[in-house]
């Protein structure tokens, strides 16, 4: 287990330093499946980064005290009646953000692997109007820290190649769930979000809807408590499934840009 990433001028920008942020309604979407152990620290860190950030925990059918822990810390909790999988869970959060008219949403894993103090890096380009969706990448240029297991890294690289080729822009980490989105991003994902290994397909979808996606380097941590859902057999299944989805998706015609986009 690694401690928090060392503070440097770049990795930590307290939310106060982000101009215009305080005028926006902003929400953190935290998907959590049996993360009662890791959640308190995540919520604390989110508040430390930005006290004005509403925290919404999506409890994806946990069998531990995830929902109770989140509620006791003052977070709003969307409790799903059974496990929907990460895609369905996260989309519940996007729907919440859309229906409650939030201007900005960040997505942070409930397992503590994403460091909320780096959120400034993700939010800045959104605030500057440079992107609709900003993804924290473990593999972009100067990122360091946890990079997942060897086999999964190979898979992530391969998917990144395929996706880069399709969208015509270099993406390095198509599996990162550390993201910030503006209203356009929220609206798109509230309406349509892929299922059980969603980020790869979502990346392609974003480009096909002509939204602007950029990556910024971040470092991620090793898992604190709980267990990763992704075993190696599953990774192979997901690879096949995701590649199939991407390639078939290429032949879809109904990908007109959203009317309200930009």
């Amino acid at each position: 287990m690694r401690g928090p990433v060392p503070d440097t001028a770049v990795t930590t920008s307290p939310a106060g330093a982000l101009r215009g942020l305080s005028d926006l309604r902003r929400v953190a979407i935290v998907p959590a499946l049996n993360e009662a152990g890791a959640l308190p620290a995540v919520i604390d860190e989110l508040r430390a980064f930005d006290p004005g950030l509403d925290v919404v925990v999506v409890d994806d059918g946990s069998v531990d005290r995830t929902a109770a822990v989140a509620r006791s810390m003052g977070a709003r909790v969307l409790r799903l009646p059974f496990n929907l999988g990460i895609g369905g869970a996260v989309q519940t959060g996007f729907r919440f953000a859309f229906e409650n008219d939030y201007d900005l949403a960040v997505r942070v894993d409930g397992d503590g692997q994403h460091d909320p103090s780096q959120l400034g890096l993700l939010i800045a380009p959104v605030l500057a109007g440079e992107a609709d969706i900003v993804v924290g990448s473990r593999f972009a240029a100067d990122a360091d820290g946890y990079r997942s297991s060897r086999t999964r890294r190979i898979g992530i690289r391969l998917l990144a190649r395929v996706v880069s080729g399709i969208v015509g822009q270099r993406v390095t980490d198509t599996t990162s769930g550390f993201q910030a989105l503006n209203k356009h991003g929220i609206a798109l994902f509230a309406r349509d979000y892929p299922h059980d290994y969603p980020e790869v397909e979502a990346t392609v979808m974003v480009f096909r809807h002509r939204l602007r996606l950029i990556e910024v380097p971040v470092s991620m941590r090793e898992r604190g408590s709980g267990r990763s859902s992704i075993t190696s057999l599953r990774s192979v299944y997901y690879m096949v499934k995701v590649l199939l989805a991407i390639f078939v998706g290429l032949f879809r015609r109904n990908v007109v840009p959203q009317e309200d986009a930009r």
């Binding site: 009646p81 059974f82 059980d196 499934k241 078939v248 879809r252």
Partner: protein
């Protein structure tokens, strides 16, 4: 040896299955998760129909002497069984979830008070 007409008909039929499955995914009527088994079925049967010597060899292995295309039937039936079994698991999960949804709804309505049900 498999009659040529059988090979051609088999290959066309199974490849059509592949195309239909791809089209169903494309038009959002079939989720990738449920399509994978169908694709495997279609591709395997296409392969076995088109690769005539292969079918012969496999027929030899499993002791089919007179009529190699019988292997096509056998493989086809195996895949159909796999798909059906898969569906049974899917239906079981759906009905469990349905029970849970109904229970959650009842609890929610109770919390909202009687007028919510009126």
């Amino acid at each position: 040896m498999t009659p040529l007409a059988v090979s051609i008909a088999g290959a066309i039929a199974s490849f059509t299955l592949v195309l239909v499955v791809l089209e169903l995914i494309r038009s959002h009527r079939l989720r990738e998760r449920y399509a994978l088994l169908w694709l495997a079925t279609g591709l395997t049967l296409t392969g076995l129909s088109a690769w005539r010597e292969g079918l012969n060899t496999i027929a030899g292995w499993v002791g089919v002497r007179g009529y190699p295309p019988a292997v096509l039937f056998a493989v086809g039936i195996l895949f159909i069984l796999a798909v059906l079994l898969h569906y049974s698991t899917v239906i079981s999960r759906l009905s469990d979830q349905n029970v849970m949804l109904a229970q959650r709804l009842a609890l929610l309505e109770e919390r909202l008070g009687d007028d919510a049900t009126a």
